[in-house]
């Protein structure tokens, strides 16, 4: 429903610009799925968006607002860069890759756990703290890039060792194993949310905090777990950037994808399984809009504008749905 409404508004905007919406849509599809280069890029973005979407979806399910996906992603990337550069390059990939990605996941989980801990301990809003921790993480990455392992004067660290790079799955698309990991993460978290007591506690806390508390939920533990799980997904995304996409830690590598993850989570109605197709749609939009100028005579900036409108549409619908009970007080 929401997706349909968003697409409709986008069509109207393109129409208002005097262009044919269908032609624009064609250009987007062509740019994202029309050739192997585009497909490869789309799959990359899809991977990241699945993980970024999960990073929001799990805490959101408990009505905890993780705005710190970016920071958690950065922590994961920093861990990947640190280990990828310093661990012996002679170790085989089968050891290096799981080890480093594990470190990324753990680093993201820790950074995600922090706002939950502050909330439990001091009652500070996790929205503010998780957002602020983004800045800390970004500056930490800047230190690593400039001082710890600089690559000359380039805006990136040294490259990680070859054995630490993610194995490529499909050569022509340059698609690596990260998409498999992302889909597996989504599946795993879906099982966790629907089949385990922890997942039930997360959902109960989100659906009615007062009733959940009175029924005996341990709020601190559940909040910490939800945030750590979200952070773990974001951290894994950071690791994927370093070991897969770039081979190094780049300045500004996340390109706003962490925040787009919030929209992915909302559009997916916080369902980890739905995150997979929604992230695919967003990836197509993101990659395909680069082709708007050639394909439909629209400025490439239009693509970003359209995504922004789309995201706002989703947020409007999402936010009304998620905070209605807080606005109206019986």
């Amino acid at each position: 429903m929401t997706l349909a409404a968003g697409l409709a508004v986008m069509a109207v905007v393109i129409g208002a610009l005097g262009k044919n919406p269908l032609q624009a849509a064609g250009a987007v599809v062509d740019g994202s799925l029309g050739n192997s280069f585009g497909i490869g890029q789309t799959v990359q973005i899809w991977t990241i968006l699945i993980l970024a979407g999960l990073a929001s979806a799990i805490p959101f399910s408990a009505r905890l607002w993780n705005i710190g996906g970016q920071g958690q992603m950065y922590l994961g990337a920093m861990a990947a860069a640190g280990f990828g550069i310093t661990l012996p390059a002679s170790w085989p990939g089968a050891v290096l890759v799981p080890l480093i990605l594990g470190a990324s996941t753990a680093a993201g989980a820790g950074w995600g756990w922090l706002p939950a801990w502050i909330r439990n301990r001091y009652g500070a809003s996790e929205i503010v703290t998780s957002l602020m921790l983004n800045f800390v993480a970004v500056l930490g990455a800047a230190y690593i890039i400039r001082d710890a392992w600089p690559q000359g004067f380039a805006q990136q660290t040294e490259s990680v060792s070859d054995n630490a790079r993610l194995p490529v799955l499909i050569d022509s698309l340059r698609a690596d194993i990260s998409i498999v990991l992302a889909v597996a993460a989504a599946l795993g978290l879906w099982i966790l949310m629907t089949r385990t007591r922890l997942g039930f506690a997360v959902r109960a806390l989100g659906a009615n905090r007062a009733a959940a508390l009175l029924s005996g939920v341990s709020e601190g533990a559940v909040a910490s777990a939800a945030f750590a799980l979200g952070g773990a997904a974001a951290g894994l995304a950071g690791g994927v950037f370093v070991l897969g996409v770039h081979g190094a830690l780049l300045n500004g590598f996340s390109a706003g994808l962490a925040f787009l993850g919030i929209a992915v989570a909302l559009a997916a109605r916080l369902n980890p399984l739905s995150v997979i197709p929604v992230a695919a749609l967003f990836a197509i939009l993101r990659v395909g809009s680069n082709n708007l100028q050639a394909g439909a005579g629209l400025s490439p900036a239009t693509g970003d504008v359209l995504i922004a409108i789309f995201v706002i549409m989703l947020m409007v619908v999402g936010v009304i749905r998620f905070s209605y009970g807080e606005l109206v007080d019986g």
Partner: protein, 507 residues
């Protein structure tokens, strides 16, 4: 009362409304004249709220007509209804908690659209309306800080400020205590004298007897009977409402001689509960198989006591459950010790409305499980157990996959009872377990509580309803300003004694 104006202020004629297979209203007629209180009486789910929502433009009837002052009218929205002089006070208030009373009253009314807000002007204007109709509220108070009865008065002021000549009150007494109800009825009386037409929806017979000029009884979507003052008494109304005479058949087994003390509070003080005034230095004991009834005018500390007992507020002093100190234990530990909690606010604290009945029934087992419980949930088993419980507690419909929000209030409460009482609790803390329920469901709740008592549970029952307390309690305590002003076995106490103690008299 003779009507000087032959045209009714509001008339609903032949209203039909269906929701799928359910007929909520079947050809209902309702008239209310200026200077008249017309009570719409019926059990929950009888179709009263649907009818009122149609009268206020929330819903469109499938068939039927609405006339205002004799003119046929179509109400397409509440804004439409307001513009035509109808005001409605909903059961769940629509107030902005962070705003003052005056701001809430002005919100959405004509003068708020002028652009600039004149703070002093607003307050004066609201004070004036408040004084004119004798609806006491402090206009500069912030709504968040107000108790529920004052919030309701703000809603009434909102309607009056918009000059509503027809006032619809949906279950206005559901949330109020005895004295608050009296104040509300006085206000309604004044509005009647002022020539307003008032429609009051309720399922409580007492209110009808007190202020109704006319009463229409609705059952299963159909109007059963309409009676003018002098034509009705409680028996007739109860029969029309339920279709049967209510038989009070609660069998309580005789208590054992000296059963063990399950709950003991010593010098219990709950200093600052968020829910209202504190209790101080309370001593009480409840034995196995005993119901301790707690009476008191709302706001004398019964909320604090409940919060202290259920781990929802910090307390001082000792609370012992079978000798084990449970003061300041969180609900999680209480649940594991066999404490069951039936909160007053079913939808807010008792249930998770968006979750299924199966999930709601398993809530406590899953959220406060024993240490060795498996991490994975077997939903198949949860559903099977839920099915059994739903049958055993006569929840309708007994479908474990339905969301709790789809049930009527009475059935929702049965779900809470099923969850809390099927765990074979040692202690049950029940907070107004029957408020807002219809007569049939109240009887069911009472039977279940007594059954739990007969099975050996200790029960702490807080209730606004003195009849309920007298019926269920073995002993009764009255709280007044956070202290016990009366303690007695039920057999040795009269309603008059309790009334005096509630007003602060000590024996």
């Amino acid at each position: 009362m003779e009507q000087p104006n032959p045209k009714p202020a509001l008339a609903l004629r032949g209203i039909w409304k269906r929701f799928g297979a359910v007929t909520a209203n079947a050809s209902i007629d309702l008239e209310v004249h200026s200077g008249e209180v017309h009570i719409v009486l019926g059990e929950n789910g009888a179709g009263k709220s649907t009818l009122m929502n149609i009268a206020f433009g929330h819903m469109q009837p499938d068939a039927g007509e609405i006339e205002i002052e004799g003119r046929p009218t179509r109400l397409t929205s509440p804004a439409d209804a307001i513009a035509r002089g109808i005001g409605m006070v909903h059961q769940h208030f629509a107030l902005v908690p962070a705003f003052t009373v005056a701001e809430n009253v002005l919100l959405g009314s004509r003068s708020a659209r002028a652009g600039m807000l004149d703070r002093k002007g607003i307050v004066d204007e609201v004070s004036e309306v408040s004084a004119r109709f004798g609806v006491p509220v402090d206009p500069s108070a912030v709504v968040r800080d107000l108790p529920v009865d004052e919030r309701q008065r703000v809603e009434i002021l909102k309607a009056l400020h918009r000059d509503a000549r027809i006032l619809i009150l949906d279950e206005p007494t559901a949330l109020l205590g005895v004295r608050q109800i009296a104040v509300l009825l006085e206000i309604i009386d004044r509005l009647r004298d002022d020539g307003r037409a008032i429609v009051l929806v309720t399922h409580k017979l007492g209110e009808v007897m007190e202020i109704a000029d006319r009463v229409s009884v609705i059952r299963r979507g159909r109007k059963q009977v309409e009676l003018a003052r002098g034509e009705f008494d409680q028996q007739v109304l109860a029969k029309a409402m339920t279709g049967q005479l209510i038989v009070d058949d609660i069998s309580r087994s005789a208590g054992r001689d000296e059963p063990e003390v399950v709950l003991e509070c010593r010098d219990l003080t709950v200093p600052e509960p968020s829910s209202g005034p504190p209790v101080r230095g309370l001593n009480l004991r409840v034995r196995a198989g005993e119901v301790l009834g707690i009476a008191g005018v709302e706001g004398n500390g019964q909320r604090a006591l409940i919060d202290g007992l259920t781990g929802s507020a910090r307390c001082e002093g000792a609370i012992r459950l079978n000798g084990e100190d449970i003061a300041n234990a969180l609900p999680r530990r209480l649940r594991r010790c066999g404490v069951s909690i039936i909160p007053e606010d079913r939808q807010g604290r008792g249930l998770v409305p968006d979750m299924t009945l199966a999930e709601n029934l398993a809530l406590v087992d899953l959220l406060a499980p024993p240490d060795d419980a498996p991490r994975f949930v077997s939903w198949r088993r949860v559903r099977a157990e839920a099915k059994e419980l739903l049958e055993a507690f006569d929840v309708r419909p007994p479908d474990p996959d339905l969301p709790a929000s789809a049930l009527s209030g009475g059935n929702q409460q049965k779900v809470v009872l099923a969850r809390e009482l099927s765990r074979r609790p040692r202690l049950v803390v029940a907070d107004n377990p029957s408020w807002g329920l219809d007569v049939g469901a109240i009887g069911y709740v009472h039977r279940r509580l007594v059954a739990a008592r007969n099975d050996g549970a200790a029960i702490v029952l807080v209730s606004h309803d003195l009849d309920e307390l007298m019926k269920l309690s073995d002993r009764i305590i009255v709280v007044y300003r956070g202290e016990i002003s009366l303690e007695s076995s039920r057999a040795d106490v009269s309603l008059d004694d309790i009334g005096l103690a509630m007003a602060g008299a000590r024996r």
